[in-house]
């Protein structure tokens, strides 16, 4: 520091700051390198585990169980990752050979140990693996994670519980589906459709009937995904009684029963354009002869989207052929109606090239 003798205070402060910054930078560089080397080592171990266990687990998934090596402690993490990966396409859970392999590798013990660890990755992988393993006694071990504040962890626990014991899981899960708006809807729908329809339908229908207008659209969509037949009476009732635009819109999108068309037709003149648009789409999917005239009128709607959907719906009607469509097009005197029909006719010819 002798070279700073007599320097202005600002220069001394600047030098000390520069020194601190340099030390911090060097530390950061060193940490980065050490972390990188460490993760390279871990990646190598996981790759070794994968190379050893992936073929064995794949064979076991196909029902063949050969001679098994001992599961080394350092390969446990890699093994669990492969275990989950192999199970993902199986859908119906583990096979006998995989269950045998799990027993031989003492997998449940390793998974319970992972559940107790603080590493997020280990806990989630263990929860998923326990679900695939389908041993009912694991239910109570996984249950506390249903209330974890991490949506990833709680959703994985929900799925795992549904695999372990769906009858016990459903009464715990349905209230949470109603309550937790932050749970990804696509994932919840996926968990519900993976489950046995008979177990899920009734509690979901019951929850939908008692839901507030904020929650109802979400639940109607879930229910229609699991069981369109169970959703139909609820949709019918909602369309008759509700004036909530979100509920009406969801019901229109989820309808599958042509018997309900009488609820749809009045909505073709709804003051909100997107309700008219949804009603036109629904009519296109379920409509019967006579409905084409209603859709033709909508080709002159003031909203582009209503005209577009009406044109698509018109061409989607099973009883409207290519000649009928051309005739309807030629008979239009309104320029907007003709333009939108030309557009949708061209679109259809592109989507289904002959």
């Amino acid at each position: 520091m002798g070279f700073l003798a007599g320097a202005a205070p600002v220069v001394v402060i600047a030098f000390l700051l520069g020194l601190a910054v340099s030390v911090l930078t060097l530390l950061m560089m060193l940490t980065t390198m050490v972390m990188r080397m460490n993760s390279l080592r871990m990646e190598r171990i996981d790759a070794d585990a994968r190379a050893l266990w992936h073929p064995l687990l794949s064979h076991a998934a196909a029902g063949h169980l050969g001679t098994l090596p001992t599961l080394q402690a350092r390969h446990v993490r890699g093994f669990i990752e492969v275990w989950n990966e192999v199970h993902e396409p199986l859908r119906g859970g583990t096979t006998d050979a995989l269950a045998e392999l799990a027993r031989a590798g003492d997998l449940p013990r390793h998974l319970y140990r992972f559940l107790g660890q603080t590493t997020f990755h280990h806990r989630v992988m263990a929860i998923i693996a326990l679900g695939h393993l389908k041993r009912g006694e694991s239910f109570d071990r996984v249950l506390p994670f249903l209330n974890d504040k991490s949506p990833i962890l709680s959703l994985c626990a929900a799925r795992s519980l549904m695999q372990l014991d769906p009858e016990r899981a459903v009464p715990k899960l349905v209230p949470l589906i109603v309550e937790r708006t932050y749970w990804s809807q696509g994932v919840v729908a996926s968990i519900l459709t993976e489950s046995e329809q008979a177990i899920v339908t009734e509690p979901m229908a019951d929850a939908t009937l008692h839901a507030t207008s904020d929650v109802a659209p979400r639940l109607i969509r879930f229910l229609a995904g699991v069981s369109p037949e169970s959703a139909a009476p609820i949709i019918r009732e909602a369309l008759r009684t509700s004036s909530d635009e979100r509920i009406i819109s969801t019901c229109l999108q989820s309808m599958t029963d042509p018997a309900d068309l009488d609820c749809v037709r009045p909505l073709l003149s709804h003051p909100l354009w997107y309700i008219r648009m949804q009603a036109a789409s629904t009519l296109g999917a379920l409509g019967v002869p006579g409905d084409e005239h209603r859709l033709v009128v909508m080709l002159r709607d003031t909203q582009w989207w209503v005209r577009y959907r009406a044109a698509q719906a018109l061409l989607r009607l099973k009883f409207i052929g290519a000649d009928d469509a051309r005739r309807i097009h030629d008979s239009q005197t309104d320029a907007f109606a003709r333009d939108i029909l030309s557009h949708v006719l061209a679109e259809r010819s592109i989507e289904a090239p002959t």
Partner: protein
């Protein structure tokens, strides 16, 4: 007179020093926030923990590619886009009156025919000459229009798209197959999301085959290599730091997803700016804050979009001048956001930060260098002081870049080899000796151009393309380009 100037310059030392401390503290805070949010993000996204989301729950997306004289790279980009792993999307390419063979190449490559589009003009644009579609690639449409600049092309595309979300990407970008699913996730997780952006990476040095990124490598030339470090800095802690505060002011024009109706509601992209991407985001903040509506503008840290950066000084200079001009054009018309009562952290922190350190940064930085050199030449400060300030400035610069490399290590590690890490560290050091000062000069010119030239016009800011990363073979996705499921959804 000389004495007066010298006293003034000596006093200015303290101003520079205070500014320097402030900017360093600001960036370190951002770095700290970015570290926390990166760790959290990586914890939740290290693996695909959750079951695959049902396709019907993934919103359909329109991909919007504005193009002007892009005949060299457009085909590659579209092939990469057409092979994205996403259930339902359409691709709308807007040819902004290119003077080269862009349109002809598109028509020939994708066997396109004229399409009777019922065009709906919600945003005013230059005249549309025609719309083209292809029976072989049903997801693809090309809108051919008269030249009006990038914003005008984007607005024309918005008029044509079918879906409620759109993803604007540059015509020279290469996407990862899972990009769209990643960048859409914030819209699924939070229904108030109005926009999300992703990481843009440097393509120079990489290998692209059939529109797909085959091999990730660092650029071999110095200029693009230094820009790789710059991109890490900008995205790893610039954007990742602001996003958790919901104060993100920039979503790169190269890759961003927007809720269409919000963009239409603010009048679309402004055509009188060269920084249309940032300006749009700032305007969205301003409108939604004014209306007191809950919203989120989010950044996704996954490496999803790759773009070629300038490899010659002329292109780099033009790009940086344009960026700085765009920054000024985005900030000044939206100055009401500054310290506005309703603007929250955007108005209180992010906007002042942007003005003080990004907009005025080059002025202060260059003035600092000039003042220090002048004082030293006039023997008013000893060489020792000059070197100490240089040591601090360079040290701080290296630390910022090292932090970004550290964040990269915490996240996706696109450059995993130890050798690559060392090259990045070397670039982080080298950039402080000449490159930073040079770009500061370019940015100052940009500010001057904004100040003296009045209203700009959204242009294309093209760079000289190297294109050496392309390695084309016969495209294979023609068979996998599945038609969208019948009936587009609103």
């Amino acid at each position: 007179m000389t004495e007066l100037m010298a006293t003034w310059l000596l006093d200015l030392q303290w101003v520079f020093f205070a500014y320097f401390i402030l900017i360093s503290a600001g960036y370190l805070t951002l770095h700290y926030i970015a570290v926390i949010s990166t760790i959290r993000y990586m914890r939740d996204n290290r693996a695909e923990y959750l079951p695959r989301i049902l396709p019907s729950y993934q919103p359909p997306i329109s991909i919007l590619i504005p193009a002007y004289n892009e005949e060299q790279s457009i085909i590659s980009s579209i092939h990469s886009v057409l092979r994205l792993e996403y259930p339902e999307f359409e691709v709308v390419v807007v040819n902004d009156g290119s003077s080269d063979g862009t349109l002809a190449r598109l028509i020939a490559e994708f066997s396109m025919h004229e399409f009777p589009e019922a065009y709906r003009q919600r945003l005013a644009t230059q005249r549309i000459r025609g719309v083209w579609a292809s029976p072989l690639y049903p997801r693809l449409r090309v809108v051919d229009k008269e030249n009006g600049g990038k914003s005008d092309a984007l607005n024309a595309g918005i008029n044509c798209i079918r879906y409620p979300l759109f993803c604007a990407i540059d015509a020279d970008c290469i996407l990862n197959p899972g990009s769209l699913a990643r960048v859409v996730r914030p819209f699924l997780d939070d229904s108030t999301t109005v926009a999300s952006g992703g990481v843009v990476r440097v393509l120079n040095g990489c290998t692209v085959k059939n529109g797909f990124l085959e091999k990730v490598e660092l650029p071999r030339r110095l200029l693009p290599l230094i820009q790789s470090v710059e991109y890490l800095r900008a995205f790893r802690f610039g954007r990742m730091g602001w996003s958790p505060l919901n104060a993100l002011l920039v979503i790169s024009g190269a890759f961003g997803v927007f809720y269409k109706e919000h963009v239409v509601a603010v009048g679309g992209y402004r055509t009188d700016t060269v920084g249309e991407d940032m300006e749009l985001v700032v305007r969205l903040h301003r409108k939604l804050r004014r209306e007191r509506r809950p919203y989120r503008i989010t950044f996704v840290p996954d490496p999803i979009c790759w773009t070629e950066v300038p490899s010659d000084l002329k292109s780099l200079k033009a790009q940086r001048i344009r960026w700085q001009q765009g920054l000024a054009e985005s900030i000044i018309p939206n100055l009401r956001l500054l310290f506005s009562r309703r603007a929250g952290l955007v108005g209180l922190v992010a906007f002042p930060f942007m003005i003080l350190f990004e907009l005025l940064g080059p002025i202060v930085e260059l003035l600092g260098y000039v003042a220090m050199i002048t004082l030293w030449l006039l023997h008013l400060i000893p060489l020792q002081s000059f070197l100490v300030f240089l040591f601090l400035a360079v040290g701080m610069g290296i630390m910022q870049s090292t932090n970004a490399i550290f964040l990269e290590r915490l996240s996706f590690q696109m450059y995993p080899r130890i050798g690559q890490q060392l090259i990045l560290f070397a670039a982080a050091i080298v950039e402080n000796f000449g490159y930073r000062q040079m770009t500061a000069v370019f940015r100052l010119i940009g500010l001057g151009r904004w100040f003296f030239s009045g209203k700009a016009r959204s242009d294309w800011g093209q760079i000289t393309r190297d294109g050496s990363w392309q390695s084309e073979e016969a495209p294979a996705e023609v068979v996998s380009a599945v038609a969208p499921r019948s009936g587009f959804r609103q």
